[in-house]
């Protein structure tokens, strides 16, 4: 059952070029996709291709010079600005891309606690810290004191404690060591298995494939194809698009197997 549907979404920015002219630059164009409960959809594409903007568009937190068109539906209901405001943090949670998304002057424990919507905030925060192997004193640290890995885990924690049914994770894995990556991904898997939906944004197709059910290949502001994760195997012959194939073959171990076969 699909929870979130994106239908023909476009995002563009108003900009001033050199001289006195003003123009609009379309960054996402005619994008359609859906998130299904119980599934992880990986969105894979090069950096700068507009993946973060997609996430922000779904939540309605784009900067003010951005314009959007198209429809997004949540539980079959069209998302208006007002509905987005009600749902974010409650039904849809974001795992942002970097530490800069944490308030630099607020202790991280407090920031996790403000994300808790139901039940005791303090307990929920303690539990999630334990689960991610964050020591108790981390609670009282400021973001600038966190290591890269700790910061990621804090960011994931904020989404985990929110009780949302949809999690949009914007590159949650870079900077983590493989053990922690595995763990974070397992967490997303567990989360999906509880009947929620996860959108896992990444430029690293390899780690995304470890847990994803489907992969959306993102290029030049739109989705080229959405393929089941199983299709990413062998030579990638089951993939439809050249770009997807190229992306798949570019992985080091595939190169290796290709040569080996030939």
């Amino acid at each position: 059952m699909s929870i979130l549907e994106v239908d023909n979404l476009s995002v563009s920015f108003k900009q001033y070029t050199s001289g006195l002219r003003q123009h609009t630059q379309e960054v996402i164009s005619n994008l359609s996709m859906e998130l299904v409960s119980g599934e992880i959809l990986a969105v894979v594409g090069a950096s700068g291709s507009g993946k973060s903007l997609l996430a922000h568009a779904i939540l309605g937190i784009l900067p003010s010079n951005a314009q959007t068109s198209g429809k997004i539906r949540f539980d079959g209901e069209v998302l208006t600005t007002k509905l987005q405001e009600q749902l974010r943090g409650k039904e849809i949670a974001l795992v942002p891309q970097s530490v800069s998304f944490l308030d630099p002057l607020m202790r991280v424990g407090a920031q996790v606690r403000t994300s808790v919507r139901k039940g005791k905030a303090k307990e929920a925060q303690k539990k999630v810290f334990e689960r991610y192997h964050l020591k108790e004193e981390v609670e009282n640290m400021y973001p600038f004191q966190l290591s890269g890995g700790m910061a990621r885990r804090i960011l994931v924690s904020t989404a985990m404690v929110s009780g949302a049914r949809v999690i949009i994770a914007d590159e949650p894995t870079p900077g983590l060591d493989s053990v922690v990556i595995k763990e974070a991904l397992t967490n997303f898997r567990e989360f999906a298995d509880q009947g929620c939906a996860v959108m896992l944004i990444s430029h690293d197709i390899e780690s995304a494939l470890q847990v994803a059910d489907k992969v959306a290949v993102f290029y030049g502001g739109t989705v080229l194809e959405i393929a089941p994760a199983e299709n990413f195997e062998g030579n990638g012959d089951r993939l439809q698009h050249h770009y997807s194939k190229a992306l798949w073959r570019a992985l080091p171990q595939n190169d290796f197997t290709c040569e080996f076969k030939n």
């Binding site: 937190i61 943090g89 308030d103 403000t114 290591s147």
Partner: protein
């Protein structure tokens, strides 16, 4: 951690003190050279209208008494060493030790300046917050327009306007003088003092809000479009809670430090406001000293105003170091 922080603060203060000392020496020297090359005759300034009665011999004796015919470096040397021993000389127009004049005037001025400082800080900060929260609405436009206009407004003219409206037309306040003329200083009651304080303080506050309001607005707009506020909104925070949790926290410190760093403008404004309202503070004394050639007083005031500005900047720096966790806990846990 603790002792390390204290030690760093100590080192920081030590360097600040060295720097201040070097600046003060330079200021003293430059100011001394400047006043010495003034065409205004210090003896005439001292003697005033009786100058015609001063014979050349008398003049020579005064010059000798003040050491005016010695080489300039020697004069500077004796003036400088006197200052180091705490003697700023004697004011020619008030016929009192300079330190005494400055001390008494400072009390008046500090009442004026601190009132204006607090008022303009609070009002300016609130205006900036309001404008940023309502960015691009008519409220924001009005506040912006008002602040830019105030920034171009001559302080003394604002004082004149208030004088016309409140003292001349409405008759609520006296037209001048820090204390009623002809009344001994001891007999002046607190109400009188407050009454004379209101208009100059109002002038300074009205002008003073512009800077802090515009700065706060800019800063809050930055904060509101920052990643961490975007994320806070993504978590469903909005409106006043959002401002309280993330906005205020991130703009309060810069605003407070800015306000401390603005001691220089505050002093300059006080000079003008005091002149307009004949308020007997440091500013008025500076103008008097300049107009009537009271060299020791002028030099003393220059040094004093420099210290005043320096203290403001120092407090701003210290607040940052003590309050901001990023500088306070310089020992980072970051592994990378």
């Amino acid at each position: 951690m603790r002792w390390r922080f204290t030690r760093n603060l100590g080192i920081f203060l030590f360097w600040k003190a060295i720097k201040m000392a070097s600046l003060l020496v330079a200021i003293s020297f430059l100011s001394f050279l400047l006043v010495k090359q003034s065409p205004i005759d210090p003896i005439q300034a001292y003697v005033g209208a009786d100058m015609l009665n001063v014979s050349p011999e008398q003049r020579e004796r005064i010059e000798e008494y003040w050491g005016l015919n010695e080489p300039i470096m020697e004069q500077f040397w004796s003036w400088g060493s006197a200052i180091l021993s705490g003697d700023l000389g004697t004011s020619m127009i008030y016929r009192l030790p300079v330190s005494e004049v400055i001390g008494e005037r400072f009390i008046n001025s500090i009442a004026l300046m601190s009132t204006a400082w607090v008022l303009s800080g609070i009002i300016g900060f609130s205006m900036g917050v309001l404008a940023a929260m309502k960015k691009d609405t008519w409220i924001d436009r009005i506040i912006k327009w008002y602040c830019y206009t105030l920034a171009s407004t001559p302080t003394f003219w604002m004082g004149l306007l208030l004088l016309i409206v409140f003292a001349v037309w409405l008759n609520w306040f006296p037209v001048g003088m820090g204390v009623p003329a002809g009344v001994l200083a001891e007999d002046v009651n607190i109400m009188d003092r407050i009454k004379h304080l209101i208009l100059p303080a109002l002038t300074l506050s009205i002008i003073g809000v512009a800077n802090i309001a515009l700065h706060t607005r800019q800063k809050l707009i930055e904060v509101l479009s920052s990643d961490y506020v975007v994320f806070a909104r993504a978590r469903g925070e909005k409106g006043f809670t959002l401002f309280w949790r993330h906005g205020l926290r991130n703009i309060a410190l810069p605003a407070i430090t800015l306000q401390f760093a603005a001691f220089s403008e505050l002093f300059g404004g006080a000079v003008l406001a005091e002149q307009v309202f004949s308020y007997p503070g440091l500013g008025q004394a500076t103008v008097e000293a300049g107009l009537r050639g009271d060299v020791p007083l002028l030099l003393g005031l220059v040094l004093f105003s420099a210290i005043f500005v320096f203290v403001g900047n120092l407090i701003a720096d210290i607040i940052y170091r003590v309050v901001d966790p990023r500088t306070r806990k310089e020992q980072s846990y970051a592994a990378k």
